[in-house]
């Protein structure tokens, strides 16, 4: 099975399209890496690029982009609504297929080493790659943002970076690198206008309330109807089909049906394959049996 990793570097540039394109294009130096998406937000003054490919290639492409962003973005002049600590602000590696989260942790360390050594930028590791408990959450790492960290990094041992100098890069600041599972955004729309039912179901579904593992859920009103909106943060633990069935069961208690559901954004093939295996008890079905998968091997 071909190894596939996704990387979604976030850059502190959301207004100058020429610069955003220059950053994205530098990934193209590495053959075999595919840019899936480039998006930006003016008020956040921030852009993000979604890359996919073999782990070593995605690593090299991410480095090329960081190098370009380091040249083009000056944090001393940066203003934007979104929290950030550097020109390249965050780089998460995400396993897509044939790759474990542990391998993405190794990738994070390799990229961090290279960034520290060649670009002299301090690096913090977060999520699955975190070396300290208080660096698992991105918000904790970014606390005080670029402006505060600039001083603290030199004085507070709690904020010493995991790689690189204990001093901000003059223009590029610092970078957070890490590994996390693929996040599937999945919404289920109920056949009721009563938002309270969506809120109650969401509450029962949430992992922290003893619901489904790796599920974050909220109740909303969308287009006049109640919606259970979920982040499935590890589809190997709870996949969309399992969430659907759980909601269907909960909704029955309120005598409410399901209008429809939505898979928001991209989803790895493996999630569809797992849903097929679970829902139709398909014996030994593998993603390699999907014709299209064979095309890029």
């Amino acid at each position: 099975m071909q190894k596939l990793v996704e990387s979604v570097p976030n850059f502190s540039e959301g207004t100058n399209l020429t610069k955003i394109k220059q950053i994205a294009n530098s990934a193209k130096k590495i053959k075999g890496v595919k840019i899936l998406n480039v998006e930006w937000d003016k008020s956040h003054n921030r852009s993000l690029v979604t890359l996919i490919g073999a782990p070593d290639k995605v690593l090299r492409a991410s480095f090329e982009m960081i190098k370009t962003a380091t040249k083009l973005i000056d944090m001393r002049k940066h203003k934007g609504e979104h929290p950030r600590i550097g020109a390249t602000d965050v780089v998460p590696f995400v396993p897509v297929s044939g790759v474990t989260l542990a391998e993405c942790v190794v990738l994070s360390n390799e990229l961090a080493k290279r960034v520290a050594k060649e670009l002299k930028i301090p690096v913090y590791l977060y999520e699955a790659a975190a070396k300290r408990k208080n660096r698992v959450n991105l918000a904790d790492v970014r606390k005080g943002e670029y402006e505060s960290l600039k001083k603290e990094i030199q004085t507070n041992p709690e904020r010493k970076p995991d790689y690189g100098p204990s001093k901000m890069h003059p223009s590029a600041g610092a970078i957070v690198i890490g590994a996390r599972k693929y996040l599937v955004a999945y919404n289920v729309n109920l056949d009721t206008k009563n938002i309270e039912i969506a809120k109650k179901i969401a509450s029962r579904l949430r992992e922290k309330n003893g619901g489904l593992p790796a599920v974050k859920a909220l109740g909303f009103k969308v287009g006049g109807y109640a919606q259970v909106s979920m982040n499935l943060v590890d589809f190997e633990k709870t996949n969309f089909d399992e969430a659907y069935r759980a909601i269907e069961k909960e909704a029955e208690r309120f005598k409410v049906g399901i209008r429809n559901s939505e898979i928001y954004g991209m989803i790895p093939l493996e999630a569809l394959v797992r849903a097929t295996v679970t829902s139709f008890k398909v014996k030994s079905f593998k993603s390699d049996q999907v014709l299209e998968k064979r095309l890029y091997e």
Copy 2:
């Protein structure tokens, strides 16, 4: 959406591996075409190659293989259990994604023209590409096989080829080319050892008995348990999830459950996407949302 077509040319060579490889390898001249599978059977003295790619490329690759088979196989010396009329015996084009069956009919005609003109081989069109009612079924076209057709093609107007000379190619015979839908082989294993139940369910499921559209079904005993074995000859009409649910419902009448199911061989991504949409009422979900699909575009 990228256009993808499958072609599965069958060759009258199942013993000489060097020749089989030479035939398969000639497809590699055309960049972007992927050989998914090469299989052969000694007693049938027959091999088949599964190709996938953009329509024009699959057409050219199929032609290259036919050209090689024409040089390497001599039908005057061919013996095998499987019915055949030529060195390249059958070439079906199958839509996989972004392509209609009608486009595959056009491909069939283009390939037929080229084979007739450049290789002087008579060509019959079958299945969706058939120009005569009695050429829809492959068995009808191959009636009497190479040995009988050799005489009849010259004398019987009913057997005049659709393209090319009314005379067999001295060594390569004739070729059947056509278009058909992708066939999904799907089995559902029941939680009973009573094969009669599988036979009854299969009978009710069959299209010709007024069951599900585009479903062929038989009841078998496999590993001691009853199995409903199906060919889903058009998954856009009846997909595997619909067959599963229909069998589940029928089996309930016998108070029998489903042990598991099997997707045999390859399946187009589109079938998984459709099953997801149907089973979980997923609104406007497209195969382009599957990460891996973006890789080969």
